[in-house]
């Protein structure tokens, strides 16, 4: 019951995170003049950075939880 719930919540969270990060970027997305817009390389860099942070944090969170559960 609760295991399923947790699993659902965690999966939902991860999905949320990773579908979300598709769009993660910085700076000006609406500039008419492309020279002022944030270059895609930078946006990609931010995306990777955010993915890295979220990925590492959620992995550690889940593994900590598993540790707690593994003890009787």
């Amino acid at each position: 019951m609760i295991r399923r719930l947790q699993l659902l919540l965690i999966i939902a969270g991860l999905l949320l995170a990773f579908t979300a990060t598709e769009a993660f970027a910085q700076g000006c997305a609406q500039c008419l003049d492309s020279t002022r817009a944030t270059p895609p390389a930078v946006q990609a860099a931010y995306r990777h950075a955010i993915l890295l942070l979220i990925g590492a944090a959620s992995t550690l969170f889940v593994s900590g939880l598993i540790l707690f559960r593994r003890e009787p």
Partner: protein, 261 residues
């Protein structure tokens, strides 16, 4: 307020408790062999399953130390993750000059080749550390000690640990050489964006290794001083796992600096 339903109290085995003994594991001298991984008594009035969890002998203390180390290293990992994510962003980001051209002023720092040597040294030191850790748990020697034939485990472990210590110091010296080489080429912390990261990452890792060296020294003193075999095992085990973690971390950081720029 309501009344309390009180069934008769449950049977509580009373241990002959030495004052100050919280049931912390057992000294290698007496009662049960320290290699015995079972929890649950075998007749000698020292039934460990009556003890609360977490106090059931060496194994419990060992896994407690390991779990504590795991969480601490998890936090530490997040520190380096943050640095690395900033590294990724700084690598690509730039600015628009007066003529609205995008300027990415990232000049990769040339990594001194001595870092390869240092990496090798660190890996070997990790191997030595692992040998030391394993030797702390070799059952035959543990039984020897339990029967009172000296402390073979600690002697062997001490040798390997001192080798690790030496190599660790060598690694730090190697890093220092690398920094002075860069300084000779007039590459300092604030020379450019990538040199920030080179120094930041290497210095942060070196700081962790110096902590590790302190831990190694502590472990060695314990090996010489501590009477309790369990304590010696825990200290050596935790130290070595920390050392391994720092070695693996260095592999990633070095790969990042060497190929990631």
């Amino acid at each position: 307020m309501p009344t309390i339903l009180t069934p008769p109290g449950i049977y509580q085995p009373r241990r002959p408790g030495r004052p100050g003994d919280l049931g912390e594991g057992d000294s290698g001298s007496g009662r049960r062999p320290p290699t015995d991984k079972r929890t649950g008594g075998n007749g000698d009035g020292d039934n460990w399953s009556d003890r609360p969890q977490g106090r059931r002998g060496p194994r419990e203390r060992l896994s407690r130390a390991r779990i504590g180390l795991f969480f601490a290293l998890g936090g530490d990992l997040m520190f380096f993750i943050a640095l690395v994510s900033v590294f990724f962003v700084a690598k690509t980001s730039g600015h628009f000059d007066a003529y609205s051209r995008f300027i990415n002023d990232w000049l990769p720092t040339s990594i001194p080749s001595i870092l390869w040597l240092n990496t090798a040294v660190l890996l070997i030191s990790s191997v030595f550390a692992e040998i030391a850790r394993r030797s702390m748990f070799r059952e035959a020697d543990l039984m020897d000690e339990w029967f009172g034939f000296g402390r073979p485990t600690s002697r062997r472990a001490a040798i390997w640990l001192s080798a690790t210590l030496a190599l660790g110091v060598l690694f730090i010296t190697g890093q220092y050489v690398a920094w002075s080489q860069l300084a000779a080429q007039h590459v300092f912390f604030n020379s450019n964006a990538s040199s920030h990261f080179f120094y930041l990452i290497t210095v942060a890792h070196a700081a962790h290794l110096i902590l590790g060296i302190a831990a190694l020294v502590t472990a060695l003193t314990f090996l010489v001083r501590s009477r309790q075999l369990a304590t010696r095992q825990v200290v050596v085990d935790a130290t070595v796992w920390y050392w391994h973690a720092m070695g693996i971390l260095w592999l990633f950081l070095f790969a990042l600096l060497e190929y990631g720029q």
